[in-house]
C-alpha cells in the first residue's frame, strides 16, 4: 500500500465509528446480564467511567427503565463534590441509588491515616463492597473497569467469576468464546461484569464529549487548595486531613484524572478547564491515569492481590 492511499484510508475512519462499536458491545453485555441473572446491581463510583457506564445502561434499556439499582460504596472520604454529583445524577436520571458504608469500620475509626492505605482500602472498600453485595443478595455486579487501566486487568474477563466469599481465582476464570457468555452460577458463586472492558481512557473522554455527558467538575482545572507530599498533590477537601508541621494548603490550578478518596487521589497541575483542553492535554501527557492513584503503587501485582480479596 502506498503512503498516499494510506492517507485516504485514514480519513475514512471516524473515531465515532469506534465509539459506536464499543457502545454496542457494552449494551450487549448489559442486556445479557439483565436477562440472565436474577438480581444484578451496578457499582457506581461517581467518576467518569461510572458516568459512561450509567449512560450506557440507560441506553441499553430505553425506552424502558434501567432494571437494576446502582450501588455506591461510600468510604466517607470521597470529595464533597462527588457526593453532590452522585445524588443529583440519581435524582435526574430516576435510577434507584443505594449507598453503603462499612459502619463497623467507621465505628473503629478506620481512616487512611490511622490504618495505612492498604488496610483502609481493604476495610472501607473491599469489605464494604462484599457486605453490600451479600446483604442485597446480588448475583451479578457491573463495574466500569477497563482492560487498559492496569497490567493485570488485561487478562480480566468481561464476565469475571467470583467464588463464594467473592474470591477471584485467576485460574478458575471461564474461557470466553465469541459473544456467548456462560452466565450460569453454581451455589455461592457470583459474577462481576465489565461492559467497558475494551474501552480506553481516551475512548471514555471522547464518548463523554460526544454524548455531552456531565461529569464531576473536579476533572476540570480550577484553583484548589493543595499540599504537596512525596511529589504528589493532595487536595485538602475538609479539615479532617492531618497536616504536618509547616504544611499549609496553597491554591493551585489543578485537576484530577481519576477520582476516589481525596486523601489518596493525587491532582495534576493543569489549565484544562474545558473538554477540548482536557482531550488536548491527554494527547500530550501520556502517563497512565492510575499513576495518580496512591493505592495502586504498592508492589507490582497490587491490583491482583486486591482482586483476590474481592476488590473490583
Amino acid at each position: 500500500m502506498s503512503p498516499a492511499s494510506q492517507t485516504s484510508v485514514e480519513a475514512a475512519v471516524a473515531p465515532d465509528a469506534v465509539l459506536d462499536a464499543l457502545e454496542a458491545e457494552a449494551i450487549h453485555i448489559f442486556r445479557e446480564t439483565a436477562g440472565a441473572f436474577r438480581r444484578p446491581v451496578m457499582l457506581y463510583s461517581i467518576g467518569k467511567d461510572s458516568t459512561v457506564l450509567l449512560h450506557l445502561a440507560v441506553k441499553a434499556f430505553a425506552p424502558g427503565k434501567v432494571p437494576f439499582p446502582i450501588l455506591h460504596i461510600d468510604t466517607t472520604w470521597k470529595f464533597r463534590e462527588m457526593i453532590e454529583f452522585r445524588d443529583r445524577t440519581a435524582r435526574e436520571l430516576g435510577v434507584d441509588l443505594l449507598v453503603h458504608t462499612n459502619q463497623e469500620g467507621v465505628k473503629e475509626g478506620v481512616t487512611p491515616f490511622t490504618h495505612g492505605t492498604h488496610e483502609y482500602t481493604r476495610i472501607m472498600k473491599t469489605v464494604a463492597l462484599r457486605e453490600a453485595l451479600d446483604e442485597g443478595g446480588y448475583d451479578a455486579a457491573f463495574g466500569g473497569a477497563r482492560r487498559d487501566e492496569e497490567r493485570s486487568r488485561a487478562k480480566e474477563r468481561v464476565f469475571s467469576l467470583r467464588e463464594p466469599g467473592h474470591r477471584w481465582e485467576p485460574r478458575k476464570q471461564r474461557p470466553e468464546f465469541w459473544r456467548t457468555a456462560n452466565t450460569q452460577l453454581s451455589e455461592g458463586q457470583t459474577m462481576r461484569v465489565f461492559p467497558m472492558s475494551n474501552w480506553t481512557e481516551l475512548d471514555v473522554w471522547r464518548y463523554i464529549q460526544r454524548e455531552n455527558l456531565e461529569v464531576v467538575p473536579l476533572y476540570f482545572a480550577k484553583e484548589r487548595p493543595v499540599v504537596e507530599r512525596d511529589g504528589q498533590l493532595i487536595m485538602i477537601d475538609d479539615d479532617r486531613y492531618p497536616l504536618k508541621d509547616g504544611e499549609k494548603p496553597e491554591m493551585r490550578n489543578v485537576r484530577f484524572r481519576t477520582l476516589g478518596c481525596y486523601p489518596l487521589t493525587a491532582a495534576v497541575e493543569s489549565t484544562a478547564d474545558t473538554m477540548d483542553d482536557l482531550l488536548a492535554e491527554m494527547l500530550v501527557d501520556r502517563r497512565s491515569e492510575r499513576s495518580g492513584r496512591l493505592i495502586d503503587g504498592e508492589g507490582g501485582g497490587s491490583m491482583e492481590s486486591k482482586k483476590t480479596e474481592g476488590y473490583f
Partner: protein, 630 residues
Amino acid sequence: MATTKTADTALVEHPIVRVVACGSVDDGKSTLIGRLLAETESVPDDILDYARNTRRSGSTIPQGEVDYSMLTDGLEAEHEQGITIDVAYRHLYLPSGRRAIIADAPGHEQYTRNMAVAASTADIAILLVDATRGIRPQTHRHLTVCALMGVRTVIVAINKMDAVDFKHVAFEDFAGGVRSAAARFDLEDVVVVPVSALTGDNVIERSTQMPWYHGPTVLESLMQWLPARAEDHDAIPFRLPVQYIVRADNFRGYAGTVVAGSVHPGDKVVVNAKGATTTVERVLVGGQDVKEATSDDAVVLTLETETDVTRGDLIVAPAEGLAEDQYPRPATAFAADLVWTGEEELRHGRSYLLLAGSLAVPAVVTAIRNRRDVVSGEEMAARTLKMNDIGLVEISTDTPVPLDPYQLSRDTGGFLLVERVSRDTVAAGLVRHALRRAHNVVPHTFTVDREARATLKNQRPRVLWLTGLPGAGKSTIADALEGTLHGMGLHTYVLDGDGVRTGLNKDLGFTPEDRAENVRRVAETAKLMADAGLIVIVSLVSPFRGDRRAAKGLFADGDFLEVWVDTPADVVVERDPKGLYAKAKAGTLPNMTGVGQGYEPPEHPDVTVNGAGEVADAVAQLLDALQVAH
C-alpha cells in the same frame, strides 16, 4: 480510486479489527506485540518507563532500554514462570484510526483452549515462526485452531531474522513451508513477513536490512486488512438473538444484537424460523428510531403482531429465496466440532447445558466421530475428549433449536457446553450442519386418536396444573379431587412432584434450569396421558411463570387449567409437612422455593383455590372448573 473506496467502506464497517497473536515467548511474541504497542503510541509513558527499568531474570536487554516483552506482562504467576498462561487483550491505535484489539494467546500445547478463545473472535491471526528454529509442530497447531475457529487471514511473522543475518534464503524456506501448511486449511489470505521484533525490522517500518522483501510490514498488513471474502457479511440474512424484553408504557420491544444481515421497519421476520411471518414495526438504537440496523448494532425491535417472543428466541429473515443452509430450521441433532475446555473429560450420554447466544437447552453428546490430531490433521477414533482436544461429535438437544453452520455465522453457529453441577464451560462447539430437522420427524397419524379414546371413556381429557409453595396443600387437594373423580367413574392420574423426582426426573436438581427441565418433562408426560384420554392432575411447585407458560403452550386452549393453590407463607412454614422449611432455615437446603429461590405466583390463573381453607371447598371449585356434575 476504486480500491480505496473498497477500503474505506471496510474500515467504516470494521472500525475495530480483532487479532489473535499466536506463538510462544520463545518465538519473541511478547516483544513483537510490545513493539507494535509502543511504536503506535498505544502505551502510556509510565508503563514504557516500567519496561525500561524492570527486568525479568534472564533478560539480556540493557537497563534503560525498553524491554518490549515487559509491556505485555500481566499476572504475578506468569512473572514467576516467565510464560503467558492466559489470554490478555491489548489495544492498538492504528494510524488509520482503526482500533486493533490483540488477543495475546499462550503458545504452549496445554493451552490450546486459550488459543481457541482468542481465535474465536479474531479477524486476523499473527502467527510467529522463529527463523532460527523453523516450522515446528506448534505452527501446525496454531494454523489448525485458527482455521477451525474461522480466522481466514493469517500474517505469518518469520521472526528473529537478525539471528540468521537477514538472509533471503532462510526466509524463502520457511515461507514456502508455511504456505503449503496453510493451504491445507482453506486459509485464503496468508501474508508471510520477515521480521525482527528485537531490532524492529519490518514491524512498523520497512527494513533496510532486507531489500529483497517487497511486501507489507506487520503494521501495514493490519491496516490493509479487509474481510477475506467480501460476501461474508451477506453469507446469511438477518439474525437477532433476543436477549431481553424491554417494557415501558404501551411498549414491548425485543432487545438484542444483530449478528447477521440488516433490519428495517416493515421487514418480514420469523421467530425461531418456524411458524407465521410477522412484520417489524420499529427499529430502535439507544432508544431512538432508526431506518436501518446492521450487523453488530445493539437494537430493540417491535413487531406489528402480538407475538410471544422470549429471551433465547431467534428472530430471522423469512425462508423465501434462501438456500437450505441459510435458514436455521429448528433441529434436535447436529454434527459439531468441539474444543474441549473442561477439566473433566467428555461424558458420553451425559446431559450438558447448551448455550447459544441467549438460549439455554439441555443437550447430550450422542456420538464421538473422531478426535483430530492438531499437528498432523489426522482424524482418529476416540472414546472421549480431554482438555485441549478437538473432535467431531453428534449432539442432540431436548428441544428443537435454530442453529446455523458455524462457517456461516460464529454467533448463531457457535455454542458452549456447560457442566450442570459445576456450571463450568466444558466445551466450545461449532456446528457443521443439522442432522435431524424437527420437520423431518413427521409423527405417524394413528387411527385411534385422542378423541376416540376420550369418547370410549366418556370424558373430556384435561390437565389441572396445581402450582404453589411447598406445603401449600397441592398433594392433599390432588388426592381428594382424584378420589372424587374416580368415584364418579372418571379416568384419572395424579402426577406428583415428589413422585416423578424419584423416577422419571431423578437426574435433576433444584437449580432454575433443572426446575425448568423438571416442569418440561412433567408437562410432556401429562400431555401423553391426556392424549390417552385421562384427566391428569399435576401437583408440582413449578415456581417459575415461564416454565408454566411453556407447559401450557403444549395444550389446546381450555385443555390446560392453571390452578394456583394460594396459601399464605406463614401457614406453609407452620405446616412444613416434610420438614423442608426447617432445613432451609438451617441453611442445608439452598434452593428451597420461597426461601432461597423466589416463587412467581400465577398472574392469570384459571382457578385460584385457598390452600389454607377447607379441602372440600377446593375440590368443589375444581369440579366446577372441569364442568363435571357433582
